[in-house]
């Protein structure tokens, strides 16, 4: 009888011990923060971006890609205002985040010192090269706007027929827009055989007729834009109305329009309609109008979480998914190394993401590589051109030659 009692107590103790094990080695929750413009200026880009981030982290948690551990990413709207971004960031710090995702150029530059001070690995949606100056903790997801603009300029030079091509730069009146101007000028000074005829900082113009006529009188053939979609759409519509859009690349007496990441995508086609035909656009992201593994994965993710077609096909959705992929991969690798997940360990993990450790997300046209000297993730760019209302690949992914020459 006594033996039975002891056995029962032993079994009860064993069960209690077994139950206690999962509790003591309980699943961990890694806190991340994202502050971006879901409403207000540029929310057309911020909205799908936020959905991309949210969906991918849900996918990571639902599919237990981090085992029992989960990611808890708080997403706050900052209305494109640095003061609100600062407030959100302070809130995230109080919450104990280990990784931060930011959005605009202005707020990234404004909070750069905070990131340094608290040693917070940060990936912004801004690809402004200036973000990396005097900064150790900001990592651009893809090639900078400067690299994109230089890449477009190189494409112009390499494919232009005749004398030196005349180019105008059409940029946003902010650091976001102005960023690449100096670098393109430096590339020209370093031997890129083209002439920059004019640099135009657009306002909120609803008509670009005068500007386009001025370009024409100065012999401009190519317009490289670094801004957002709507001013580009206004310019394309005006050029189309004036019969000045080139039907083929470099058509004489007409303009061939080219643009960096935030100028293009399906939103541009929706805004400019037929006027967007033959618009050349560069980014490091894959697009859903072309078949591929990345497209299938992106659309499947959007479908799984009930996103509409507009969000699912947005390159900014891919943009959001990709930064979430990088963050999740960093955590995964740090976990695999058996280190505690902290902002310091994730920073170290990001710096080790190169060589054989490069990360290949299917949402980009090249691998993500970071190191102490390389804080731009995907170095390769892909050129796309609008044909029959859809963006199509033009050539193969490339790395602009002059970005190395002007360093």
């Amino acid at each position: 009888m006594k033996t039975n009692k002891i056995s029962i107590w032993l079994i009860v103790s064993l069960v209690a011990f077994m139950l206690a094990i999962p509790a003591s080695s309980g699943a961990k929750v890694y806190k991340l923060g994202l502050s971006l413009a879901i409403t207000g200026p540029t929310s057309d880009a911020g909205n799908p971006y936020a959905k991309g981030v949210e969906d991918y982290f849900r996918y990571v948690n639902d599919n237990k890609l981090l085992g029992q551990d989960t990611i808890d990413c708080t997403i706050r709207d900052d209305k494109y205002e640095t003061s609100i971004t600062k407030r959100n960031f302070e809130e995230y710090l109080d919450m104990g985040i280990v990784f931060y995702l930011n959005y605009s150029t202005g707020s990234t530059l404004g909070l750069k010192r905070d990131f340094e001070e608290v040693k917070m690995p940060t990936i912004p949606a801004s690809f402004h090269a200036g973000n990396l100056e005097d900064s150790n903790y900001i990592f651009l997801p893809i090639a900078s706007y400067s690299a994109q603009a230089i890449g477009l300029a190189e494409y112009v030079v390499n494919n232009h027929e005749g004398k030196k091509p005349k180019v105008a730069l059409f940029v946003h009146p902010s650091a976001f827009g102005r960023g690449p101007v100096d670098d393109v000028k430096k590339s020209v000074a370093a031997g890129l055989n083209m002439e920059i005829v004019e640099v135009v900082e657009h306002g909120q113009d609803l008509d670009n007729t005068a500007m386009l006529q001025r370009f024409k009188s100065k012999g401009v053939q190519y317009v490289i834009s670094q801004t957002v979609q709507s001013p580009v759409a206004v310019m394309l519509n005006d050029a189309s109305r004036l019969g000045l859009v080139a039907k083929t690349f470099g058509e004489k007496g007409k303009f061939t329009f080219l643009g960096c990441h935030y100028t293009g995508g399906n939103d541009l086609i929706a805004l400019a309609g037929d006027a967007a035909e033959n618009f050349y656009w560069t980014t490091s992201y894959i697009i859903t109008s072309e078949p591929g593994v990345g497209r299938d994965a992106q659309l499947a993710l959007a479908k799984r979480y009930g996103r509409d077609d507009k969000a699912a096909n947005s390159h900014n959705y891919a943009n959001g998914v990709m930064v979430a992929q990088v963050a999740a991969e960093t955590i995964k690798r740090a976990k695999a190394r058996g280190v505690e997940i902290t902002k310091e360990s994730l920073y170290e993990e990001l710096l080790a993401m190169n060589g054989i450790n490069a990360f290949y997300p299917v949402t980009t046209v090249g691998p993500v590589t970071f190191s102490k000297d390389d804080q731009q993730g995907v170095d390769t760019l892909q050129l796309y051109v609008v044909e029959d209302g859809n963006f199509k690949s033009e050539g193969t992914p490339f790395i602009p030659e002059y970005t190395g020459k002007i360093k």
């Binding site: 879901i38 409403t39 207000g40 929310s43 057309d44 909205n47 706050r76 709207d77 209305k79 205002e81 640095t82 003061s83 609100i84 600062k86 407030r87 959100n88 302070e90 809130e91 710090l93 109080d94 202005g106 530059l109 404004g110 750069k112 010192r113 001070e117 608290v118 009146p173 902010s174 650091a175 102005r178 509409d308 507009k310 969000a311």
Partner: protein, 364 residues
Amino acid sequence: MSANRWLATGNYFTTYQEEQRIFFTAIDRLLFAFFLAALFLWPFFVELDSKYMLVIDNILVAVIAVLGLNMVTGFAGLISVGHAAFVGVGAYTVACCARIIGDQHVLITHAWPLMILVSGFMGAIFGLVVGLPALRLKHLYLVMATLSFQMIFEWTIGFMDFFNQGQTIYVGRVVWFTGEVGRNEHYLFWYYALLTVVVICGFAVRNLLRTRYGRCLVAVRDNDRAADAMGMHPGFTKVYAFGLAGFLAGIAGSMHAYLYRGVGMESFTLHESIQYLAMTIVGGLGALTGSFFGPAAIKILDLQVESLAEWALNYLPSTMNLATALRPLSFGLVIVLFLMFEPRGIANWWRILRSYVKLWPFRY
């Protein structure tokens, strides 16, 4: 004065001096002292997150700026829609110094009270210059003059390399008797600094309004020709109203620069000017207490609408982007409603409440 120095159920002034008293009864003075003590002491008992401390600090910055705007628009009756530019002048005074001598220079980090004063005087100089058209212009025409100053300011900052084309110019951490003010105590430190400045500015404005110069402001607002006939100088009064507003705005701007440890253009745009004007209207034009209520009400409303917009995003179709419209809509609605139903602002509610308490339990 009433027979009881602690309580008064009505006005019993027998001299002009009595009417100009800051506190009418001893209980007013005592309650104010308690309130002030509570404002200084609560951080010892309640620990707020940095986010909320930043919100409170922001409100205090706005209070200083609105004290200035209320001076020129509320008391002197000169509408200014370029107040954010004056605040910007103060902020960029600190930023320019940081850019020239380095943001870690002892003048920026140690002599910050001096920098704040210098910024105030710089704001005053700009205020005096912008106030000059007030000698010849009135009403809408004066509004246009202040608007043009706002535009010139934005253009200058946004396009000149020296001002980093409107992008952030960093300002170093300040040093106090206890050493460098670190990240953990940053917002609390600036809470005390701002609160001290608010109290000083509040008393200064209240005292100014008791003087000949303060009463001139009100007289010129009510009828400048009559004021002229009474021996006042309307032109001088209008210009110095702008100067004083510029001084307070400059102080607010420099404290904003130190609070955010950097200066960027987006905090000093026309939108911000309109927001300062809205704070003044909602708080109560021409009422000192309105300068405190207005910023608090608008900033808290802003926070609430932010939360509402985030919540609404889950239910409103993203294609219409209606959530974006919520903020300007609510902002505009509040101003219109106040103008229609309570043009004297929240300060009037405060006045009614005080009158009620004064007579309680008797009916008003």
